[in-house]
Amino acid sequence: MMARLGRRYFLGGATALTSALAMPRLSRAASAMGFDDARHLLSRTTFAATPAEIQNLEPFDFADAVARLLANPRRQAMTVAPAWANESLSFVRQQRQAAQEEKKQDKQAAGGKPVNLAQQLVREQGRELRNWWVEEMLATDQPFVEKMTLFWHNHFTSSIQKVRFAPAMLAQNALFRGEALGNFGTLLKAVARDPAMLIYLDGVRSVDRQPNENFARELLELFTLGEGHYSEADIKNAARAFTGWSIDRESGLFVDRERQHDQGAKTFLGQTGNFNGDDILSILLRHPRTAETVVEKLWREFVSFTPDPAEVTRLAGIFRTGNYEIKPLMRALFLAPAFRDPANRGSLIKSPVELIVGSIHVLGVPVPDNTQLVRMMGALGQSPFDPPNVKGWPGGESWITTNTLLLRQQFLRRMIEATTVSSMDGNMMASNRPNRRMDRRQQLPGGASESGPTMETHPVEGRSLRDAAGEARLGPTLTGFDNATLARTLLPHKPIDTVDIGGQSPGAVVAALLLDPAYQLK
């Protein structure tokens, strides 16, 4: 219970974005943005905002608030990294071998059922990795940095399913966070040397005699130019230029093996020379399509489904002439008239991560173990560190299918009916494997739980939307606000289904609003 209370405290801390925004440097300008602008800005730059967070922001000038949002981005996570964060590749390999040995012995001892302990080890680290990031999303004082980190993860994708080396995935995540609002050129060059990326797109296997084209192809198609702006020959030549970039078999860190580098002349996008990887990246950064590709993607993430071509050109110009600094681009994007255009409010569909992290934040629901949340994210189509393929999550309308719409409603009903997230298990149609090991946090002194791997399902007083008698009631984040404010907070629009805002208790209204189709929008 101690751990849970501590957890709650952290959740309270997540409201710090708006308190940071409300620091004295912010002028209460004559042009107070008002509730709807504040809600819109927060809905796009955080996972979701509570009524208090919106009200704290509304007296301020919109451009000042944007400037403040970008002023001092956090470059490191607040949440303590998993214990294995700095393990080397050779150490991980040894662990796996030891696990395999153990497996053989176990098999002999038990005389039968083979258990793949090495695989379990990888899976367990993957679970801890995802739980760690979701914890950071819930706990951070700068949700915008986590959203940008997630954006870069979805742009420069890698999946732990293939990488199978959690410390490298964690390091890649740290790279995305550190450069989330930094410089795209720096980020691109770091990504090309990133061990997880080198494993994911087979750079580690690419040598002069037989270059592996996987990284080069996706670099051109997805990371920079986009399809139709290069030839198959460009891919082959780019692949040759990256040969020799690999990882050290002991440390798992980047290494440039010159002897495996193809020293011949390469022709790439009309230029010829003895190019290496950096030369290729420099050529790509000089190509106008690179900035456009990134701007189009940011537009779909933050503004609307359909990028405005003229605005994309304008913003890409700002990006390229600004030497690919990300902050000025984001500032220009949020200040673009289209961002605040009424037609673009509530025009995006919440991603699974936004839906889940945002709902937990707004409802103030305690989460004893993030494993259930992560599993739900996977079922809804967005398991962090495991995008479906190198193109990442397509997002937009594709988040909502007959299957995922039903699952989203199921998740929200459980948020209403159940008391803590842990009691969501049971009927999830997601792959609901038994939880073999407890979350490490629960094994720490003070956080010890006697319930072991079985999830605790007892109600937590005051946190549920319903009490024991079935009467709906609200947690502290929503208590004390009138029904109209709750509706304007939870939905970007008026409700689609009939919600009796006047006549019902606040708890019943919140329950109805969460199940309204408009709650899926941001």
């Binding site: 592996n212 192809r217 509530g346 393929n389 309308e397 719409l405 039903l406 009927n427």
Partner: protein
């Protein structure tokens, strides 16, 4: 609604039959089972040109050994992991279409599967799936409220105004959740495309749930259990139950993922081919037992095959033409078409000998009685369907 209630609820078989009779010539229509092999399956290690010396030369490290090849004729054989399909081969209801592809091949996963899913030319972008396109302008029965069911996550082949398609990975939970959701009737999207999409999907769910619940509630159970293979067995189990409940769908889609074998290919592909073969073999046995094998046609496909030569990582990079499997009681078994020549490559890739749109045209006619050319000037009907 609990499981007992769900399984043993009180819907009469006569309701099911009445639903079917509303279809135009229901007995002649077959359900197409689409089996997507995601990532680009290596066709040359699936259907192996074992007698060609170039095969060994191109694949010194990853070539399938002769003793692990199931000989089909004097030139080609199947990967040994496909052994469970040999019953179908011997019974002559398993056709192998060799060298299927399209002109100006695209080697992007995303673009190439889009080409396959929409039956477009390589240079053309279409938004509607090919199965939906096939049904454009036809009238489908209103009875079931659903025409296509996707048991994996990529529904593109069946997306479009021609069909009512739902994505449904678990029937029981689908119906339970659908019953708990409000109806979209009369809702206004206010010109917001995201909201319109949400309301459309909700409307589809309402309609499908209404049509499916009666039929699946009393549906029989497959005679042979599917293995837990990577989710693939579960998808085929769902497909089998839908067919056995005689839900009048025109297509069901399942998928097996993980075929993008750039490195250390052999163990990965062997494992996946094993899943594919055991899953399809169990599916076939179940439908034969249910006397439905003549009413379905199974087709495998993948976005592309892989390069003729292995790469330095004991894997293969993105390629072009590859074989397709077609199975069913009405299928004319055996090898069809010509295996692309290993001596006549284009940029290191096999040249296709059959255009996939001719496969689709043949299926559209054989399964649904529809004449469709999918934009081909000279469509050909292939001989694999009676």
């Amino acid at each position: 609604m609990d499981r007992r209630h769900f399984l043993f609820g009180a819907s009469a078989l006569s309701v099911v039959l009445a639903g079917r009779s509303a279809m135009a010539e229901p007995s002649q229509r077959k359900t197409l089972i689409l089996v997507e092999l995601k990532g680009g399956n290596d066709g040359m290690n699936t259907v192996i040109p074992y007698a060609d010396p170039l095969y060994r030369q191109f694949r010194p490290g990853i070539g399938v050994a002769r003793e692990h090849t199931l000989q089909l004729d004097e030139r080609v054989g199947l990967n040994g992991k496909l052994e469970p399909l040999m019953d179908a081969w011997k019974a002559r209801d398993f056709a192998i279409l060799q060298g299927v592809g399209y002109p100006n091949p695209n080697r992007s996963h995303f673009r190439s599967i889009e080409i396959w899913d929409t039956a477009s030319a390589s240079t053309q972008t279409l938004g509607e799936g090919w199965v939906s396109r096939a049904f454009d302008g036809t009238r489908l029965p209103a009875g079931a409220g659903v025409d296509g069911i996707v048991a994996d996550s990529n529904s593109l082949p069946m997306m479009g105004p021609g069909l009512r398609t739902i994505v449904m990975q678990d029937a029981e939970n689908f119906l339970r959740q659908a019953n708990a959701m409000k109806s979209s009737a009369g809702s206004n999207d206010e010109g917001n495309p995201a909201l319109r999409h949400l309301l459309d999907v909700r409307h589809e769910v309402n309609g499908a749930a209404a049509g499916l619940s009666d039929k699946l509630r009393d549906g029989p159970t497959p005679a042979y259990a599917f293995g837990p293979d990577n989710g693939f067995g579960h998808q085929l189990d769902l497909a089998t139950r839908i067919l056995m409940a005689r839900v009048p769908v025109v297509a069901i889609k399942v998928a097996l993922l993980g075929f993008d074998t750039h490195a250390n290919q052999v163990p990965t592909q062997e494992r996946l081919l094993g899943f594919l073969a055991s899953g399809l073999a169990t599916f076939r046995k179940n439908l034969i037992a249910a006397n439905l094998w003549n009413d379905v046609v199974v087709m495998t496909y993948s976005e592309f095959g892989r390069r003729a030569r292995q790469n330095a990582s004991a894997g293969t990079d993105h390629g072009t033409a590859s074989p397709q499997f077609v199975m069913g009681g009405a299928v004319k078994g055996g090898l069809h078409g010509v295996y692309p020549s290993l001596a006549d490559l284009q940029d290191g890739d096999l040249k296709h000998t059959v255009d996939f749109r001719n496969v689709y045209s043949t299926l559209a006619r054989g399964c649904w009685g529809l004449q469709r050319d999918f934009g081909q000037r000279q469509p050909q009907t292939l001989s694999f369907l009676a």
